[in-house]
Amino acid sequence: MGRTATPGPADPPHGRLGALLGRQPVGILFAAPYAVFLAAIFAYPLGLALWISFHDYFFAAPGAQVERPFVGLENYRAVLSDPQVRRSFLNVTEFLLINVPLTVLLALLLASALNTAIRGRTFLRVAYYVPYVTAGVALVAVWLFLFNRDGMVNQLLGPLAPDPSWLINSRLAMPVIALFVTWKQMGFFILLYLAALQNVPKELYESAQVDGAGRVASFRNVTVPGVRPATTLVVIVATITGANLFTEPYLLTSGGGPNGASASPVLVMYQRGIEQGNPDVAAAIGVLLVLGVLLISLASRRLLERD
């Protein structure tokens, strides 16, 4: 592009206008709908969530003028002293402790196995990805059938079946949900690892082989360090997915049962905010949840990419 080009609609404007709008101001027009969308559905609600969490906020009829006084940290105090909220944060911690390590381990093992040339790859890929593309509600329906008191899992276990049964057992409900989500999301994380594996230089495997390393050793010394950035990404995305947990406790354990043992923060947020009409308290739960996700993300970056 230069001054010799035929003047056209895309010709870069010069001078002050160019400095103000950039070389191709038509880009602003192209990007405007998306920018407006992000501002309206992401930036503004983010600010609104913070604002609500510091005020005595309640639902009012559209257009009604109501007083919503600033209350400082009152909502946060209410949230932190609420045993059900505290329980839900403990629950999601338990969920993450099961789900994240299991996801990282299985996804990496499966991805590196799928990365080798084997027969039936298409079938294998479809099998491992298909839970990811399927509606959670439909999959929960089958797990309800499999894990209910008279379900197939207990039939197979016979006298070993847990009592009370899986979904109504306060110690087993959360682990079952963690397993469900691990299974459902696995395909996506395999995909992330498969992409990362394409970037591990083949020569590293060859030289490991020359050094006499077996398959296990080269997995540990070449594959694992080679996909480390992807592992950070997997940990972060799995944590975000866990923080979003709602459908499973709502449907699989009928509302976070038994007795709140499998309630997730988002479920409590829904109950407090929309069922009970306290959006201010619910917004505070959301802010705390995001702070937690941010902390875990930063920590996992530090831990996994320290060298």
Binding site: V26, A31, F42, P45, A60, R125, V142, A195, Y250, L289
Partner: protein, 274 residues
């Protein structure tokens, strides 16, 4: 050799385990009475479509499917039209605010949507009065940021000469996008559309919050409501639930199996690598 054989066997057994719930969903939806024994998972006869009739009598399958289709179609339309425009601008044009928009696009994928559920509910349901409307269900997902990312990465990978030649010919940017970039972008369009499809089609929480009117509920919502409240009265409650689950799962699974070639690491890889 032994390790390789073991690995293959484990991979195939794992795949069967992953698929079993899908198989069981279909079998359970076709049985007159639930048989939860191991033998019951491999029945030889006695299949019936009664369960499909039973669920259809309770939640109007066709109407719910149409609702799911309208919501998903709206999101796809918004993503393809405005997402391609934004992806092209981010990749190929230089304008004020480009860096900020790119950063926002990345950031949006990290913040859990559920955090925003309360303020978005306040805005859409309370301020704009869009409860019980298709628009209210579509708006929060109207432009899929992952798809924008895929479009950007794809347009970025195209050779610069293509664009400078067209610009020298005096073509407008819209014209270049339409007749130069877009015809080449078919694989990216397909991958992004597939990825976008599964979001709104499978989404439960948001449409559940904004629709009280059963005539407007997508299938995921009406099936969930049936599981939670209505199933007790059916002759074979699990059969009816599983029949609904098959209908809900089928379109996404069929699309995925048909186009699974476009759902690969290399298609998404450019996006993942950044």
């Amino acid at each position: 050799m032994a390790i390789r054989w073991l690995q293959r066997t484990a991979l195939f057994l794992g795949a069967l385990l992953f698929l079993f719930p899908f198989y069981y969903m279909v079998i359970g939806s076709l049985q007159k009475d639930p048989d939860t024994s191991l033998a019951g998972a491999f029945p030889t006869g006695g299949f019936t479509l009664d369960n499909y009739a039973a669920i259809n009598a309770r939640i109007d399958l066709l109407g719910s499917l149409v609702n799911s289709g309208i919501v998903t179609g709206g999101v796809l339309l918004g993503t393809v039209v405005f997402g391609v425009l934004a992806g092209y601008a981010l990749a190929r044009l230089h304008f004020r605010g480009q860096g900020a928009l790119f950063a926002a696009m990345l950031l949006v994928q990290i913040v859990p949507f559920q955090l925003l559920i309360i303020p978005i509910y306040v805005l859409i349901v309370r301020s704009y009065g869009l409860a019980d409307s298709y628009l209210g269900m579509i708006i929060p997902f109207a432009i899929n940021s992952t798809a924008v990312f895929i479009f950007r990465q794809f347009f970025l990978a195209l050779p610069e000469e293509l664009f400078s030649a067209a610009r020298l010919d005096g073509a407008s940017e819209l014209r270049i996008l339409w007749s130069v970039a877009l015809p080449l972008a078919r694989p990216a369009l397909l991958t992004a559309s597939l990825l976008t499809f599964i979001g709104p089609w499978n989404e439960f929480l948001w449409p559940f919050l904004v629709t009280k009117d059963a005539d407007l509920q997508p299938l995921a919502v009406s099936l969930a409501n049936y599981i939670n409240t209505g199933a007790g009265r059916a002759a074979n409650p699990f059969g009816a639930i599983l029949a609904g689950a098959v209908v809900l799962a089928m379109p996404a699974v069929a699309l995925f199996v048909a186009f699974q070639k476009h759902f690969t690491a290399s298609d998404l890889g450019s996006g993942v690598k950044g």
